[in-house]
Symmetry: C2
Subunit: 217 residues, 2 copies
DNA sequence: CATGTTTTTTACCATTTGGTAAAGGCACGA
DNA sequence: TCGTGCCTTTACCAAATGGTAAAAAACATG
């Protein structure tokens, strides 16, 4: 039952192993997020990590193993903000908080965003299964939650699934298409400030139910 | 001044040349859009085109030349809908038409969308210059136009640049992240129908100015 | 410090990749 | 039908790529 991707049965990693595995993962994140799986090379990763190629293969079973490990490790924290959307909270606040956090993640972790973007664009050949088994249930759960919020009149009527897609699309755009954003809005700081203002206003307008006036009663 | 990318000085392409160039471009579109530049191989393109690798290099100067040519050729038609947004038209209609067309392009031409997505995500190393010289002026012009519409009260107040980003992000998401959308919304037809409804409603809500009631007067 | 273990390096290898040279085939006008 | 120029194939090549074997070095531990 242990596929070796999450909690290893023997977590006894030596100090050196921990340090080097981290180095490799970080280097791999740089390279894979920039070139995609097929475009990345072990030599590049090795160089970026400051280790020799055989040394890297001492720590990982191969190029694909590094990629898969990276995706699996990051998937959980990447989805954390969605996961943490609280069914007990005030619906509009919960969603606006989620949106703000998601946009903040695009700013703070653009490499992670692009890593996933590359993988999905190229057909999700390696995390396809994980999408179905890990993401889909979470997605369905949150769709149900949002639908319930709409039903209770706490949100304006909206298709939950497509709402989530919109949030992902808009927030991740700033990380994934950074190269384009940089060309079209050269002042990077202003661009981020504007992004926050625009994105938050846009979704607030979309989601605020008629007659809303702050938290219920 | 002729960089050989747009209008060749000698457009005398034989019937065979036209046929094979088209085949190659189409095959290259398949391969590049799926794997990105570095992940794509000439052998793949050759096989997909039903031609030998040397034969492909008879028509193009190399892998990079094919990629650049493809990007340049498709850029114009990819941006056509934005280009055609009419300053004389009714602002809200113009924008809603643009959005609908853009979404329709994601459905009809997902490969093109992914081709550009791959290129931009990977840092736009080959169309970076073209973005600055070709896209930027168009972007600025349309931003000015939208700003003017807002000033005249024909649209709700909105940041033009970020509005365009949002439109691109949301519409292209359905093409670029098709693999993920397919997992999360297995009924593809319903997903597209829902996408149209949701996206159009969302932007209409965002853009409709207060007190709007159809075309002016 | 002796000894067993972990980590790193050196030296390879088979395959793939982008690309070339040159010969062969083919169409098409004279 | 014959040649001439366009197209295609065959046979290569050097470099890069993912990966391996095994020796050497570094390390920990008694």
């Amino acid at each position: 039952m242990d596929d070796g991707t999450s909690l290893p049965t023997a977590p006894k990693l030596s100090r050196i192993q921990k340090r080097n595995r981290k180095r490799i993962m970080d280097a791999a994140l740089n390279v894979f997020s920039q070139h995609g799986f097929r475009g990345a090379t072990l030599d590049q990763i090795a160089q970026e990590a400051g280790l020799s190629k055989p040394n890297i293969l001492y720590y990982f079973d191969g190029k694909e193993a590094i990629h898969v490990d990276l995706l699996n490790t990051l998937m959980a924290e990447w989805l954390a903000p969605l996961e943490e959307m609280n069914p007990e909270g005030e619906p509009l606040d919960e969603l606006m908080t989620y949106i703000a956090r998601k946009l903040e993640m695009s700013r703070a972790y653009p490499r992670e965003s692009r890593l996933f973007a590359n993988e999905i664009i190229q057909g999700a050949p390696r995390i396809g299964p994980h999408l179905a088994s890990g993401l889909k249930p979470l997605f369905d759960r949150k769709c149900d939650l949002i639908a319930e919020w709409v039903r209770r009149g706490k949100l304006a009527p909206v298709d939950p699934g497509h709402l989530i897609f919109s949030i992902w699309a808009v927030t991740q755009h700033y990380a994934d298409f950074e190269a384009q954003v940089d060309v079209l809005m050269p002042d990077s700081d202003a661009a981020w400030a504007g992004a926050h203002t625009h994105v938050e206003a846009m979704f607030r307008k979309l989601l605020t139910p008629p007659g809303y006036s702050g938290a219920h009663r």
